[in-house]
């Protein structure tokens, strides 16, 4: 579009000689009026401007009424920049011109996109699929750099065929990306929130500030993780009193700091320490007894221990070949984390008093699971019948008590879920009805 611009020089303005006024318009009539006069008036104006006698008196009678014609200029405004279009370029392309087009569009070196595409090709073939989709969807440029026309139906059919072929890969890739990104997003959010709590600096500012705070918060989380592990281990190893005193001392320091100098940073580690030790205590986890697998097969009641203890692992007490006397035979099981199994002969009645912090307790046909599990089954036995009194304390894990010849029986070579999805532990039939 041709735009006419009229500059009225300031020296024709007595009120404000230093100012100029710019008129812009497209009026063809104005152009026709002023164009013939433009050149001579421009010459006159130049002379007036250079006159040492003062320009106002000369200029006013000369140019009044046609001021707008003085500096008429016709100029081509710089054309509005054409909208950037993403096209597959012809020059510099290697295969289809996709990466070169992306490089031109984003004003980056195309090698960046080529490297990315190659990396994605080896990452499950996503790069190849994306490249094929780009070839279909991004128009190629013609000889003058404009997007060339495409066969619309050909594109639609091509995309449908591509989707039909690649939807398993796309789904898998999407799940993979989601599987990576969602935990990462949660981690970043947790870091921001933790740092917000610790320092009082919220998620404000630019992205760099937020990323910095998220990183600091994640670092604090890592430190708290180590503190939690240490507190849990100390509590499980019998140092709960020490942990409790340390937590109280931290609380006193925080309380005193409120009046002297705030130690806000101490709150999170202290709470972490307290909760980790508290969780271990609540679950009843005791690491006394070591770690590993213990398999006890006492032959007689004299070999039968009062307490079978294991910190972490698998504890098996097999009483099938134990010569148990008639009457009550007490036995205790103390397991921190893991699984405890007690296999008893069919002619033994079992009375159970079990506590499981988190997990499951099963005795024959009784089952209880969840948090703070209590299972109490105290049947009576006839005289002449052995009654095994089992008192069990499991922190996290499972307790199972059953007869030989069931799925609990290791000698049968399996300890699996039955065909009905449950385990058969037999029935406690030796007890009195």
């Amino acid at each position: 579009m041709r735009v006419r611009t009229y500059w009225v020089p300031g020296f024709f303005n007595e009120a404000n000689p230093e100012s100029s006024t710019r008129y812009t318009g497209t009026s063809s009539s104005t152009s026709k009026l002023v164009r013939p006069l433009a050149t001579p008036l421009r010459v006159a104006a130049t002379a007036i401007r250079a006159s040492p006698r003062g320009h106002s008196q000369l200029a006013k009678p000369l140019c009044e009424g046609i001021l707008e014609a003085m500096n008429e200029t016709t100029q081509e405004l710089p054309p509005e920049p054409a909208p950037r279009r993403l096209v597959r370029v012809q020059s510099g392309r290697v295969i289809g011109g996709v990466c070169a087009g992306l490089g031109r569009y984003f004003k980056l070196d195309p090698i960046i996109f080529r490297i990315g595409a190659i990396v994605l090709v080896f990452a499950g073939g996503a790069g190849l699929l994306a490249y094929l989709a780009a070839v279909l969807l991004i128009p190629a440029e013609d000889s003058v750099g404009e997007p060339a026309g495409r066969n619309r139906w050909l594109v639609i059919v091509g995309v449908i065929v591509l989707l039909c072929i690649t939807w398993p890969f796309l789904l898998g890739g999407g799940l993979l990306v989601a599987g990576l990104l969602i935990p990462f997003a949660f981690l970043v959010a947790a870091g921001v929130l933790v740092w917000w709590f610790v320092s009082g600096e919220g998620p404000a500012g630019d992205a760099g500030d937020v990323a910095k705070r998220a990183a600091l918060g994640i670092a604090v989380l890592c430190v708290c993780g180590f503190i939690a592990l240490g507190g849990a281990w100390a509590a499980a190893a019998g140092g709960e009193t020490v942990v409790a005193i340390a937590v109280i001392a931290a609380g006193v320091a925080i309380l005193a700091g409120a009046f002297v100098r705030p130690v806000r940073w101490l709150v999170l580690p202290a709470v972490t320490l307290a909760l980790s030790a508290g969780a271990v205590s609540a679950a009843g986890i005791d690491l006394d007894g070591g770690v590993g697998e213990r398999d006890y097969r006492p032959a007689s009641v004299t070999e039968l221990r009062d307490t079978y203890e294991l910190g972490m692992g698998e504890l098996i007490v097999d009483l099938r070949h134990t010569d148990l006397p008639a009457g009550d035979v007490p036995m205790a099981i103390d397991l921190g984390i893991g699984e405890a199994r007690v296999i008893v002969p069919d002619d033994v009645c079992v009375a159970t008093d079990a506590e499981v912090g988190i997990g499951e307790a099963r005795t024959f046909e009784l089952d209880n699971g969840g948090i703070d599990v209590d299972l109490e089954d105290l049947p009576e036995a006839d005289s002449g019948v052995t009654r095994l009194l089992v008192r069990a304390d499991v922190g996290i894990g499972a307790l199972r008590i059953g007869h030989a010849g069931t799925d609990l029986d290791l000698d049968q070579g399996h300890f699996d879920f039955g065909p009905d999805g449950d385990q058969s532990l037999g029935r406690n039939l030796a007890c009195a009805a």
Binding site: G200, A244, L255, V271, L275, I371
Partner: protein, 49 residues
Amino acid sequence: MAGVCVIGLGVLLLLDATGTLELRFAVLAPAACAALGAILVASGMTRPR
């Protein structure tokens, strides 16, 4: 407030360690939630501006 809550948790642990109280999840979970909530409230009330 936060200091009092932390001291409370520590006392709870100490009572369990001395056998005065049997700490179970049924006790710990409400206590922990209450302590954390109070700490967050106190933190929000005393946040630096």
